[in-house]
Each structure stands twice: as structure tokens, then as C-alpha cells.
Symmetry: C2
Subunit: 383 residues, 2 copies
């Protein structure tokens, strides 16, 4: 297994990893370079269902300053019957005003035309610089060419084309109980310097009865439980497409395991990150309390620098939890309740635990450490 590598992921029994270039049956993808990225790397990509049927679910960032492609997905797509996604990288088409909205609509139309689809079944997504106009002639040409270039083994090039500052591609194709599932994600922070966002595309030939419920549950346990810098992107997008061609249901835990491993890969690839921590809060009065404490710990720069510095600094954990729970009163926390011993190890995946001693509820959040490299990446990048 090369994809499933985290201690926190338990893939279902009998799972098999396949070549990630090969998409799930019933899907094709393609990518080209159209000149958005100055490096000349691929930056326009399309994934499309070639199967007769395609059920889908689409989850979008709740950021109040959402980018134009997000607004187009929200206003002009039918999330339950998305057949294709047109993605560009290097420019987020965010904070681009009315022109950005027109451009996003034009990209949707162009992809729909090139693929012979109803525009309402074509999602658009973008990641990259904020506040810059798109080179639209290039982009439309790229969308056309990527649409003609789609092929069943285009998964690897699709995964590469959606990268921005990612250090490594994040993708897999897995098979389990007669079902194939392929997925591609990008992200190295909730938001990157100018290069924003977490994107994820999942294709399967399983028959998924309620794609939205399945996707929401898997996302809640994966992408919504990670933090690099606590910053929510303007462009986050997750798309699940299911062709149903296998005639079989999604094996229990398969989607969850794949999304969790992808989410942990994003944390591990966080800006300047050297290791991944997991803040586990237990014995809370209720879930909300557990959640607030875990998030406060995971987003504390003091805890994150302690993780970087291999320092089992439990005082900072007590302080952050107390801050997350303002309005209540905690019993005095001591070493009986907090264990940050793994911080001192050299392991790349470590846990800290905090027991609040007043209930049964629990929550956990994964986070990256905070080191010099984060400052270098973010301070030396200039607009």
C-alpha cells in the first residue's frame, strides 16, 4: 500500500490499490497547459462521466467572499446530476467582481459545449491567485482542448494539473468488493499564499443511493477535521460522481478512508509542515464542547510551534482548551487529564489527548505544526 499510509486511516478489508492514472469505470479526464501558470505546467483540466448514468453531490466553501466559480456552482448547477467538472489552477477567479462571474459562466458554457452537455451538469472549480483577471482567450482554448483530451487513464494528469503549491500529487484508484473508486485532491493549507484552496474530485462505479449524505458524512470526518492555518478558502470544492455501472453499493468505510487519507496528505503537505498532530478531546459534556476545545487546540499557534519544537507543552493545551470553552468553567487541568508526550517523539504523526472529566462526548482535529518555513513561504511571497 502506498496510498494508505497514515496511522489514523483504516481502509476496509480486501482493498486493493490500482494505478491512479486509471479512473473508475465510466469516467475520463484530461489536462492541458493553457498559460495561466507561469511555469508552463498543466493548468486546465476536465473530468467527465462517460457512463449513461451519473449521480453526484457537490460541497462548496461557506466563505462569505466565495469565488466566482463557487457562486456559479451554487446558482447555475444541479448538484445531484453533475456529469463534468472544468478546473483551472494558477488563478482562483476570486475577488474578481462582475467580470469574474461572467468569466466563470463562460467557462461553464464552453466546457458544456465541448462535451455536449447541459451547462447545469457542468461544475466549475478554480484554485490559485486571488484578485487577478483570467486570461480568458487562453482559458477557453484550454477548456476546449482538455475536453477533447479526456481518456479513461487521465487520472494522473488530472491530479497533477489541479496542483498549485502542493509538494506532491494526492490521488488514488482503489478497488474493494467489486467496486472501483478513484479520487484526486489538491491543497497544502486551507488557503495558500495567493494560491488558495482545497479541491477534491471522486469518481466511482458504485451505485450510491444518496450521494450527498455519503459525501457529507465522509467530508465531515476528513476535510472538515483538518487545519493548517485555520484559514478557510474562498474556493473549496468537493465533487462526488457515481456512475452505478458496477451495480454494487459503495463498501462501508471506503469513501471515508479515501477522503481521510487525502485530507491527511493535505495536512502533511501544509505550508512548511514537518509533522501532523491530532488533538483528541474526550470526556466532554457534549459534542459542541469537545469540538470547540479540539479546534482551539489545533489552531493555537502556541500548540503548533510546540509540535514543531518537539515540546510536550501541556500548559499551552490547557490554556487553548480554556479559551475554546470561554463561558464555562473547567476544573483545574493537570497532567492527569492532558497527555502531550508524543510531541517529544520524532514521529511524523503524533497525538495529544485531553480529558475534560465531565461527560462522554469526544472530538478530534488534525493539524500541522508551525515552523520557520511557514513564515518564509507566507512572508516572502509578494503580490
Amino acid at each position: 500500500m502506498t496510498f494508505f499510509r497514515s496511522r489514523w486511516v483504516e481502509p476496509p478489508d480486501g482493498i486493493e490499490e490500482l494505478d491512479p492514472a486509471r479512473l473508475a469505470p465510466g469516467f475520463a479526464a484530461g489536462a492541458v497547459a493553457c498559460g495561466i501558470k507561469e511555469s508552463g505546467k498543466t493548468d486546465a483540466a476536465v473530468v467527465v462521466a462517460t457512463s449513461e448514468r451519473c449521480d453526484s453531490a457537490l460541497l462548496l466553501t461557506p466563505n462569505a467572499a466565495a469565488a466566482a466559480p463557487i457562486r456559479v456552482c451554487r446558482d447555475k448547477c444541479d448538484p445531484a446530476r453533475i456529469r463534468a467538472a472544468a478546473v483551472k489552477s494558477g488563478n482562483a477567479n476570486a475577488a474578481t467582481g462582475e467580470q469574474g462571474m461572467r468569466d466563470a459562466i463562460d467557462i461553464q458554457s464552453e466546457a458544456a459545449r465541448a462535451l455536449g452537455l447541459d451547462p447545469a451538469t457542468v461544475a466549475v472549480a478554480a484554485t490559485g491567485k486571488i484578485g487577478e483577471a483570467l486570461p480568458m482567450d487562453n482559458v477557453l482554448d484550454g477548456v476546449r482542448r482538455a475536453s477533447s483530451a479526456v481518456r479513461p487513464d487521465g487520472g494522473e494528469e488530472f491530479a497533477t494539473a489541479i496542483m498549485t503549491t502542493d509538494a506532491f500529487p494526492k490521488r488514488c484508484t482503489v478497488r474493494c468488493d467489486g467496486v472501483t473508486l478513484s479520487a484526486q485532491a489538491k491543497g497544502a493549507g486551507m488557503i495558500q499564499p495567493g494560491f488558495a484552496t482545497m479541491l477534491c474530485f471522486v469518481q466511482t462505479d458504485a451505485l450510491v443511493e444518496n450521494p450527498e449524505a455519503a459525501l457529507r458524512r465522509a467530508v465531515e470526518a476528513s476535510f472538515e477535521r483538518i487545519t493548517v492555518d485555520g484559514q478557510m478558502s474562498t474556493n473549496d470544492t468537493v465533487l462526488l460522481q457515481a456512475s452505478g455501472e458496477s451495480g454494487l453499493p459503495l463498501p462501508d468505510g471506503l469513501l471515508d478512508a479515501v477522503l481521510l487519507q487525502l485530507a491527511l496528505a493535505i495536512v502533511a503537505d501544509g505550508e512548511g509542515a514537518t509533522r501532523v498532530g491530532c488533538a483528541r478531546v474526550s470526556a466532554a459534556a457534549d459534542e459542541d464542547e469537545a469540538e470547540r476545545a479540539a479546534r482551539a487546540i489545533a489552531n493555537s499557534p502556541l500548540v503548533k510551534t510546540a509540535l514543531f519544537g518537539r515540546d510536550p507543552n501541556w500548559g499551552r493545551i490547557a490554556q487553548a482548551a480554556g479559551m475554546g470553552l470561554v463561558g464555562t468553567e473547567l476544573p483545574e487541568l493537570g497532567l492527569d487529564q492532558i497527555d502531550a508526550g508524543e510531541f517529544a517523539s520524532e514521529s511524523s504523526e503524533v497525538e495529544l489527548t485531553l480529558g475534560l472529566g465531565r461527560g462522554e462526548a469526544a472530538a478530534h482535529v488534525w493539524f500541522s505544526d508551525l515552523g520557520y518555513e511557514y513564515v518564509r513561504i507566507n512572508a516572502e511571497y509578494t503580490t
Copy 2:
């Protein structure tokens, strides 16, 4: 003027700066070294009203994991008639369990005995390492000696004794319209590595009718509008004492100007900080919206590293504001609404502005930048 140095502070007309060693009439302070700080520097301090009358107000951290001295102040003090405060630095007496509570009560009793006061009129405060037991014999001896050492010109030594990792003392004595006001603060972050907290003590001979209202208003416009690392301390304490000896009211804006200058000094002394930013949000639908956007911007590590890197990165400001306002929808933000131009200057105090274009409400928050030094201080400190 050497105390009032920020562009954002407007002291009342006719204000005069006096020697900060000299407290307001009716007050005395003293400090000694009792061996909490390994450096041997002063670490036990007392301030006391020698006047007949003393009205007071006491504001404490709402952190759910509040330190023992905070709990003692909350449970065993009368906030309206505090005559003295016993402060120690180098050890926060936080996350120290039942023993910590007993110790804090003993310190209160010992100071009350030494000063001949009702224990309910003696506040206790502490700042320093979290999770470590106090060397109580030393501390009680220190409290006794500091209580005997109090003198009217003990302001400077009091201000120095409450410092932990502060790079410079933060104190003043000012005179305006017949009233004298002296104040001492410490802090270099909402919380420091192990060394926690913001403390502030204010003495005046003005006649303050409603000390709590006056203090709350001034604190809301100063200490509650700053952030270094977004981390709330377990020990934050602000005490206002008014002897009324002058028979005159507090001049308008005096307390506000002093606390704001002290708060800005704390931000400027933030861990590794090189400059102070002010995030000003205007044209919001309501105050809550303006506040949420301003805080999201001020606490964004992406905005803070941009401030450090002299990068007027307005895309990050749009993203952070959008994250702060999840649940609403912003119009597309562009350069018309955001101005971060001052980021590119070499000024030590810079502003960014964001107009939301949908109302009249405004809010602002001051924040430090985030640079390599923050990581060094916090990652290399080990417990």
C-alpha cells in the same frame, strides 16, 4: 511626551507626563526578589491604597481554565473595594489543581495580614509558567517583604517586577485637570510561552463614581481590541483603584488614552513583533459583522505574515473577512473596498481598511505581525 507615542492615541488636552516611579497620591507600591525567577530579578510586588477611601473595579479573564489567583479574585474578593494587589511573576499558578487554590488563598491572607487589611480587599495576580507548583515559603516571605517595602515612589519597581518576557516596562504617571493617574502593565502576547498573560494596575486620586463602568469602557477600547497570537490567557487581570483624594472627576478620555497606549505597547512588544497593524472594517451591516471581520483579519496568520513581509496582499484580507462572515454573503470584494497600501511602507504602525459597502457600522482591531522570531521564541522554549 515619551509615553504617548502611538498615532492611534489622542491624550486629552493639557496632559502632563510625570516620573512613572511616583504613583498617584494615596497609593504606594513595593517589590522584592523572592526566588521565583531563576534570573534573581524582582518577582513579588504589592500595590496598596494608603488613602482613607478606595473605590475599585477588577476585570478578569473569562478563560474556562482560569488560574488559581483569578478564581480567588472571583470568589473571595469584593471587586468594588480592593485596597491592595499582591502580584508574583515567573509562575502563573495556573493548572496547579487544589494545591494552587490553597496557595493563592494563603498569599491573599498573608498580604492582608502584612498590610493590616481585610482579605476580601486584597486581589492576587500572577504571571509566568503554567503547571508548576509555587515555592511557597519563598513566595510568602516575598509577599511580606514587598508589603513592608511599599512607598509612594515605588511605581517603577512595581512595573519592573511584574514583567516576564516583556522587552520593556509599560508604565506612566500622568496629570490632567488636577487629577493624577498612574498605571503599570505587562504582557507581550495574549499568552507567552509558559510565561503567560497581560496584567494592568491603575491608580488615581480622581473621584470615580462608577469605576467598573469606566474601566470596562476603557478596556473594551484597548486591551480587548488587541491581538498578538489570538490566544487568551489564563491569568489576565486589570485593576482600577481610585482614592478620590483630589475631589475631582476623571478627565474625559484620560483613562482611555492611558490604557490604549499601554495596550499598543503590549502589541508592539508582541513575541517577535516588528510592527503593529490596525484592521479597520467599515460600512458593515451591524457592529457584530464589523467586529467579526476585523478579528478574522487581525488573527489571520496569512495577513500577519504579509504585514511582516511588507506585502499589501489584499486577497488575503478578502479571504479572512469572508471566513469571519461565514453564513452571510459578501458582494465580490475588489481593490475599491480594500486598502492595504500601508503594508508596503516601513512604518512601525500601519493600517488596512476594508469597506463592506452595506451599512454604517465599523470596528477595528490592532495586531502584531508574524515573523521568524515568533517561531523561534515559541518553538525553542521547552517545558
